[in-house]
Subunit: 423 residues, 2 copies
């Protein structure tokens, strides 16, 4: 894609009210635009990242054999009264229609998925199953903050599982936990599965997933070796203790919550009276688990984790583009033509090879301004075509997370890129 | 995918309150579930169709070089007051937050995209551009009706283009019109671009796209040869007249509206005072066009167009799966094992070849009930493995839009399928 065709642009200065790194760099880099406090438009760069994150989530949920659906944001008041949450959930947006009907605006979807599942569950033969959606959520936060980390409108993957017995629920819960670790690992994050309350074998087990970063808001007691962790607010173990899972040493670290999973037991199936007939013809309550990942929040956590004082440093798996190609100007018009023609061929060749390339083809911008944009946007690999590189039959190669720039012979560049992207 | 693993299921009977074909078959076939009037959950089958339709739309918008973004559903009251639509748009859902802020719930996005575009437009060099999103829309309809054709919550692709002059806007408008015809044609529909008001060269040009179907609600005067049409309510031409574009004969036909495009002129850029500096340094108003396709409505229109008394007949391009594989039972346990093993191998082979297959592997369902589900769900090609086909080293082949079933030798089946899918 040519930068000159892009309608959204980077900003010279960071937003004055940015209270954290992601609010600063995502806005300044032209990834998102703040419509109002806690509400953002995802611009072309940002939406590419969000889609990549959501596709990683989708792939891992599909590996669990969870079935994707898409539930409504408008939810009837009666469902929320059935679970006694209409009045008790203070962040619930409420709407009255022209026809005087009251709706909740989806802050979560237990109130939709439970009566939906009820329609398809009769006997034990219909169980277990898991279903998920990737959708927009709405929460009437008193104070939106931290960029895309805590918004009033945000993106979420929410999965719900349904079971005949606790053993089956626990088995799925354990597999979902591993899938979550896989998702975060594919996004480049180091994440601990932190016991949020209770122990591992209680019925109301839950875990929150904490991405370790010095910019984190939460304090965690985490194993240096395995995925074990405890939120310091409820921790039963201390820094220096041995990990109960693997014997590794526990450290105190900072984290950002990027997901959580809950054994819901029969909380919602009691409310909606969701039963199944077991092998002996007896009616029993269905057990449920729920599993959430805030996908837009995850993008924010990645930025908090991977940046320097110049901008974002995207992991390859979620970068908006893989290559940032820069063509530099010259006072000599013939050289400008040669540079542009070389850059254009390379751009087309990369696109043909299925490699995502952003080509900064702007002619009225200085080299310094272009390089500042490269660092701000944070694409993993910068390639420069200039008068100097043409003389050397080369392209300048600089990785975003390295200070070193080197020349690569033009004939070797495609193979070098493929090897870089595989690594 | 194995049918036995699917949590959503077909229903034996149609919903009692279905007022049209799509409301009947989409619910009965397990494509959608009605949460409340005008609000649906998209179940696994339905979401597969919706995603295919939305990907066709996405591909064609990308061909136009339009840039995908994702705008908020929550929109500040002030923007809607700026365009004087806060009080005048009666289907606008309005929300009051805990902090006493008023929001509109996105019924359309001119109020978001115009001030967004303003942030990135300074001079003529920033123009033209087009941007679009695929998102959920909300409309407080007094009466939701016709299944997914007119809902209170629905899916839409909305694109907005920005220009320095009318000639440039008209040129993009004409290209967008052709892209729309391409989208509908890829979805299997015969669609006319109907003049909704004014003539072709007035500033406030608009077209609605009408899918021709006997189940349509609108009456159209349409050319039998080209895409020309007029809505009968504003028609200046009559049945039997010659088409002003190609000379073909005009007929009176029924249609369902599946999209519309508008030359907005400076309506919204006047309201938000969006200007650009032209080549002579003068400030001028930006011109806008907008272009909408209701993607969930489009799924409904496809069902209204392609069905018979047994169920849906999906066009290949948007079918939830390409193959519906059915394995039949037998009183002989050895035969059951052979049938299942053969069907399982075929299922795996098709999936490996990237062909989407739904395998009805249920063991406790009669052949008649399975075949009724095949017709209801409407996948283009049915393949049957049974005691009889095993004896003949064959698979039974029946296309959904044909009454004829035939045997194909097992060794030829993959090649025959590939050839069928290409046709």
């Amino acid at each position: 894609m040519k930068y000159s065709k892009l309608f959204s642009k980077t900003n010279k200065t960071a937003p004055a009210d940015a209270d954290c790194i992601n609010a600063k760099y995502l806005v300044q880099g032209g990834f998102v635009d703040q419509e109002m406090a806690g509400v953002y438009t995802w611009l072309p760069f940002g939406l590419r990242v969000l889609h990549k994150v959501e596709n990683i989530v989708r792939e891992e949920m599909n590996v669990l054999d969870a079935q994707e659906i898409f539930m409504p944001c408008l939810q009837p008041r009666e469902y929320w009264e059935t679970t006694k949450r209409w009045d008790s959930v203070d962040i619930l947006f409420k709407i009255k229609s022209q026809t005087e009907k009251d709706y909740a605006l989806g802050a979560t979807h237990e109130e939709v998925v439970t009566p939906l599942a009820q329609k398809f569950i009769q006997s034990y033969k219909d169980l277990p199953f898991a279903t998920y959606q990737i959708n927009t959520k709405f929460r009437d936060e008193l104070r939106a903050k931290s960029g895309v980390l805590r918004g009033r409108e945000f993106r979420m993957k929410d999965m719900y599982s349904f079971h005949t017995n606790l053993e089956d629920l626990n088995e799925f819960y354990a597999r979902a936990l591993q899938s979550y670790l896989k998702v975060f690992s594919r996004c480049g994050l180091q994440v601990k599965a932190v016991e949020a309350s209770g122990g591992i074998f209680t019925q109301n087990q839950s875990h929150e997933f904490q991405a370790l970063t010095s910019a984190g808001e939460d304090l965690i007691i985490a194993c240096e070796k395995c995925e074990f962790g405890q939120n310091s607010e409820v921790a039963t173990l201390n820094e220096g203790d041995k990990c109960p899972k693997c014997g590794g040493v526990l450290n105190k670290v900072k984290g950002i919550e990027v997901g959580n999973i809950f054994n819901l037991g029969t909380k919602y199936t009691d409310a909606f009276d969701v039963n199944f007939t077991d092998e002996n013809g007896e009616q029993k309550k269905v057990l449920m688990g729920c599993y959430g990942i805030g996908t837009s929040r995850l993008v924010g956590a990645i930025v908090e984790t991977f940046s320097d004082d110049k901008g974002i440093i995207w992991p390859k798996s979620v970068a908006p583009f893989q290559i940032h190609l820069v063509s530099l100007g010259s006072k000599d018009a013939t050289v400008v033509e040669q540079v542009n023609s070389t850059a254009s061929s390379l751009h087309d060749e990369l696109e043909s090879a299925g490699i995502e390339v952003l080509w900064d083809d702007r002619s009225d911008i200085s080299a310094g301004a272009k390089f500042a944009d490269v660092d701000l946007i944070g694409i993993p690999l910068r390639l420069v075509v200039s008068e100097k590189t043409l003389r050397e039959n080369s392209v300048e190669w600089k990785e975003r997370n390295s200070a070193e720039a080197k020349l690569i012979l033009s004939v070797d560049v495609i193979e070098s890129i493929k090897s870089f992207l595989r690594s």
